[in-house]
Every structure is written in structure tokens, then in C-alpha cells.
């Protein structure tokens, strides 16, 4: 894909996120915006799936373990035709199929998440099952950096390595901000790469907002390292709008009408 086209796709997805937020003037804005370029790349170029045959055994599985980032997941799933785009207009409404955290009944969602620290264990189970079935599909698990505070993540990491799950690809959305503030204040994570490496993962990193950087590391025919892979996606929370970038107050937000107007002006222009 040309860089220009990629940027256009990301802009489209950000617009969809803004439209969803404006349904109820609320949502985990910052946590979704940091994932946009990654998700566009994953769904446009990396993952194998068929939105019309969602249970195809040959599909790659993606678990958004940081379920609060669902605005980007719903936007891309709708964009790809897993469900009609009009559903986005019902985000978090009483009878909506799209709650504030993903549930498995939504086409394209592989596991219900929301409470942090669950997705990697489930992903390890899925990857193990695929191995037992000689199925070559990949399992991707997207973790938040704050989520790494959960002990269950490290339990699962130990076992992913034990089972030599080279079909498991874990991506950390490393925007360095969790709900309260900076990781290094709340719960320092560094040296992050060395930690995962010592847990038996092949570790690499990319700029989570740079198409070429993502593509260079996450190639379609990614090498087999005979062990699970961990990717650190260096990202910016709230990416795309100056006021929201690196601003923990925009992790989850109840928006004033004026703020929605400004967001629309920024993204829908």
C-alpha cells in the first residue's frame, strides 16, 4: 500500500472513532487512538480473515486483551464488513451489539475482554489448540502497557514459552501512559524488552504510528523464531489530536459538547 493511501485509511478509521464517541459523548478515546495505525496495518495487510465466514478455521485470531481499546476494533471490523457500519451509531446504547468492551457475540471478536490480564492466557490456549490441530493460523494478542501490571500476564508468558508457541504474536501498545498517569510513576515496566526476552520471547519493536516501521517488523510471512514473538509498538496515547496526545485525562473521557465539536472539526475536515 502507498503511504498516502495508508494515511488516508487511518484518517477514515479515526473519523469512525469520533463518530462513535459522539453517540454518547464518551469512550476510551486515548486508548483507541494509539492503536489506529497498527490496526489498519493488521487488518489491511497482515491478518488472514474472511468477514463473510467468521468461523473459518484457517483465519488468524486477534484478541484485544486491552478491551477498552474497542473503539478502534469496532471501527475496523465494521469497515471490513464484519457487521454493518450503522451499528457504530449504537455504541454503548441499551440494545446495541457494541458495548464499551468487546464481547464474543460481536462478529470478528474472538474473546470477551475488558477486565485486564485475561487475553494472553486465552491466546496461549488458542495457540496451543492450533498447534495440536496442525493449523498454521496465527494468534495475535494486543496488550496495553498498564495491563502488564497484572500477574496473570506473566503466568501466561511463562507458559507460552514453555509450549514454544511460534504461532503466538503478542503486541504491547506501549504509549507509556496508563489510567492514572505515566507507567514509570504508577508501575515502572523497563527494561520491558529484556523482561519479555528473559521470559523466552523473540522481542522486537516498531513505531506504532509509522507504516514502514510496522511493516518492516510485522511482515506477512514473518519468520518463525520457534518461540513466541513479542512486539513493542511504541505509540502515543490519544494520537492524532494535539490536545489529547500524551494526555492521561483523555484515557477515558466524558466529552463536553464543545469538545466533540472541536474533535469533529479536527478529524472531519
Amino acid at each position: 500500500m502507498k503511504l498516502q493511501d495508508f494515511n488516508h485509511r487511518c484518517k477514515t478509521i479515526r473519523r469512525m472513532i469520533i463518530e462513535m464517541i459522539s453517540v454518547n459523548n464518551r469512550g476510551h478515546y486515548g486508548s483507541a487512538m494509539s492503536l489506529v495505525e497498527l490496526f489498519v496495518y493488521l487488518y489491511d495487510e497482515f491478518l488472514n480473515y474472511n468477514p463473510k465466514k467468521i468461523n473459518l478455521s484457517s483465519r488468524d485470531r486477534l484478541i484485544l486483551s486491552k478491551g477498552h481499546g474497542c473503539l478502534v476494533l469496532y471501527s475496523i471490523l465494521a469497515d471490513k464488513g464484519f457487521f454493518p457500519k450503522k451499528e457504530l451509531k449504537n455504541f454503548q446504547k441499551f440494545n446495541s451489539m457494541l458495548p464499551g468492551h468487546p464481547e464474543i457475540h460481536i462478529p470478528g471478536v474472538e474473546a470477551s475482554t475488558g477486565s485486564l490480564g485475561h487475553g494472553l492466557s486465552v491466546g496461549v490456549g488458542m495457540a496451543k489448540a492450533l498447534k495440536l490441530n496442525n493449523n498454521k493460523s496465527k494468534v495475535l494478542v494486543i496488550l496495553g502497557d498498564g495491563e502488564l501490571n497484572e500477574g496473570s500476564i506473566w503466568e501466561a508468558a511463562l507458559h507460552a514459552s514453555k509450549h514454544k508457541l511460534d504461532n503466538l504474536f503478542v503486541i504491547i501498545d506501549y504509549n507509556r501512559l496508563q489510567s492514572y498517569g505515566k507507567n514509570k510513576y504508577v508501575c515502572p515496566l523497563e527494561p520491558l524488552g529484556k523482561k519479555w526476552s528473559s521470559f523466552g520471547f523473540h522481542v522486537s519493536e516498531f513505531d506504532g504510528h509509522d507504516y514502514k516501521s510496522i511493516k518492516k517488523i510485522l511482515r506477512k510471512n514473518i519468520d518463525s523464531y520457534e518461540k513466541p514473538c513479542l512486539f513493542i509498538s511504541n505509540s502515543i496515547k490519544g494520537k492524532g489530536y494535539e490536545v489529547s496526545e500524551n494526555n492521561p485525562l483523555w484515557h477515558h473521557k466524558n466529552f463536553e459538547s464543545e469538545e466533540i465539536k472541536l474533535l469533529k472539526k479536527e478529524f472531519l475536515k
Binding site: 475488558g114 490441530n133 503466568e155 501466561a156
Partner: protein, 307 residues
């Protein structure tokens, strides 16, 4: 009982390659035969119970039927949220085999005691909760569990229990309760290993020319509403005996049922369980049950006073 559970799992696994056994750093040699014969179906994971449940959920999402086995107290208390989200919300056919039901681990102290498993799990949607009375019933329940497409919890007793369920048809639906001793006016309703005590007590009463019936409820959730309502409505007095805190377990389930369907029968119920507190008492399961007034002699005397 646990040996039987593992034996049945191995037998079923030999016929169905989707059945997996997942242990959590269990004792050396557990299911060695299965490990040798069916290495792909035997998974011994670390002391990582939260992971274990998510791992089983991932396998089940891909069509496997995992049986997870470790100490019950860890499964219920430590993994509550994993059971709630990973198993119940996804409604997956994962069976939890919980060692050390009730006071089995008496000498090990409160970290290992399991007086609250029914109460902890009872409010979770989709889960089914079982407490077999002996090895024979364990075999029937494990086989029956394969026909249920949702999470299952099975409490495991101490082991070596006398077989008392041989009069129950092997074809009986595992969700149903059974009457082991018939009596119209007075009945004991119980579950799990306490069925042994209930039958012994009933025999003692018989020797004294008093009659008391025994009803066994192997499935705490969903409870066999119609049969229990029928028995209770005909009874003058009902004694619920359980190796569980007196709040939240079988007794509470029955009180819930009566308060919903037949309030007039509430006054017939006496619950003999464990008072809801910590105890600095250890020793053996037998000693602890005696301390709680749940040994045969104490139960006989407590019930006798109510006649």
C-alpha cells in the same frame, strides 16, 4: 474419588481426542499412564491457576474439552474472575475437578479449606456445580458432563468413601436428585460425601424405630426444583446437612427455592452446616467435622431433638 475422576477422564480421552487433562503442578506420577499413551491430551502446567483457566478457555474456544484439576480452594477463590469471564461469559465446556472438598485438607489450615465453593460459584451464570458422594457417582457425573456444553465444577471428596450410590440408576440424568431412603414425614437432604453420614444416621434412627428419609442432591446448580419441592411439601421437617458454610450452599439454594416457590415450607427447614467464620482447628477431616457438629453422633443428636 479423585482416582476415579482421573481414571474416567483417561478412559473418555482414549475414545475422544478432543478431551484434554490439564493439571496444575500436581503430584509426581499423576496420570502417568495417560501421559505416556496420549501425550497430546495430557498438559501439566505450572502453579498458575489464573492462567490455567484462561488457557483452558482458549483450548475450548478451539473445540477442545478440557478437564482442569487442582486444589479446589485455589480454583474457586483465586480464579473467580477467570471462571466468571473466561468460562461462564463464553459458556465453554470446561470442567473443573476440585480436590479437597469441604474439610478434606483440615490439617493444612484455612488456605486449603473449601467450605465456600458452592456459595462462591452459585451466582455465576451458566456454570453447573456437582458434588458426587462416591467414586461410582463421580464416574457417572464425569461421563454425564460430556453431554453438557457449559462450564462445570465438580467437588472431590477425600477418597476411599464407601459406595452408597449403587442403587441410583447409572442412566439417571446427573442434574437430578435421588431418594435413597424413602420417608414421607422427615427427610435429610444432603450432597457430596455427607450422603454417607446421612445414610448411617437414617439407619441409626431405624434401629430406634424412627424413620427418616435421605435425599441426595449431587447437582447444587441447577438444583432439581420439582423433585425437591415435592419432597419438602410432603415433609413435616427437613434437615439439610452439608460440609459447607451454612450460608450460601445447598441449604441456601433450597431456601432460595422455597422463598420463590413455596414460602409456607420455609419453616420446615433446618440447616446443619459450618458457621461462617475462621477456625484455628486442624487435625483431620473427621476431627474437624466433629468440632462442627457434623459427625454422625452429633448429627443424630441434633436431629433427634427436632423429632
Amino acid at each position: 474419588m479423585r482416582k476415579q475422576a482421573l481414571k474416567t477422564i483417561q478412559n473418555e480421552a482414549s475414545m475422544n481426542s478432543k478431551i484434554l487433562f490439564i493439571g496444575s503442578d500436581l503430584g509426581a506420577g499423576v496420570l502417568e499412564d495417560m501421559k505416556q499413551k496420549y501425550p497430546n491430551q495430557f498438559l501439566m502446567e505450572g502453579v498458575s491457576e489464573q492462567y490455567l483457566i484462561g488457557f483452558a478457555a482458549g483450548l475450548a474456544l478451539e473445540g477442545y474439552i478440557p478437564f482442569v484439576n487442582t486444589i479446589g480452594s485455589f480454583l474457586t477463590k483465586r480464579c473467580y474472575e477467570q471462571i466468571y469471564i473466561d468460562l461462564c461469559l463464553h459458556n465453554l465446556p470446561v470442567t473443573l475437578i476440585a480436590n479437597g472438598g469441604g474439610a478434606v485438607y483440615a490439617p493444612l489450615g484455612p488456605t486449603h479449606l473449601n467450605f465456600d465453593d458452592f456459595s462462591i460459584l452459585r451466582t455465576l451464570p451458566n456454570i453447573k456445580i456437582f458434588a458426587p458422594a462416591d467414586a461410582l457417582e463421580m464416574d457417572r457425573i464425569i461421563k454425564g458432563s460430556l453431554t453438557i456444553n457449559s462450564p462445570i465444577y465438580i467437588r472431590v471428596g477425600r477418597g476411599g468413601e464407601k459406595i452408597v450410590t449403587n442403587k441410583i440408576s447409572q442412566k439417571l440424568n446427573i442434574l437430578k436428585c435421588s431418594t435413597l431412603v424413602e420417608c414421607k414425614d422427615f427427610n435429610i437432604i444432603t450432597t457430596g460425601s455427607m450422603l454417607q453420614a446421612a445414610i448411617d444416621i437414617s439407619c441409626e434412627f431405624k434401629k430406634k424405630s424412627k424413620k427418616i428419609g435421605v435425599v441426595h442432591v449431587p447437582c447444587i446448580k441447577p438444583i432439581d426444583e420439582s423433585k425437591l419441592l415435592n419432597i419438602i411439601s410432603k415433609s413435616k421437617k427437613v434437615f439439610i446437612i452439608e460440609e459447607h458454610y451454612a450460608n450460601g450452599g445447598l441449604g441456601s439454594s433450597i431456601l432460595d427455592l422455597l422463598s420463590k416457590k413455596r414460602k409456607d415450607d420455609l419453616k420446615k427447614i433446618d440447616i446443619f452446616g459450618i458457621e461462617n467464620k475462621f477456625y484455628q482447628k486442624y487435625g483431620s477431616q473427621k476431627e474437624l467435622l466433629k468440632y462442627f457438629g457434623l459427625d454422625n453422633r452429633s448429627l443424630f443428636n441434633r436431629i433427634n431433638k427436632c423429632f
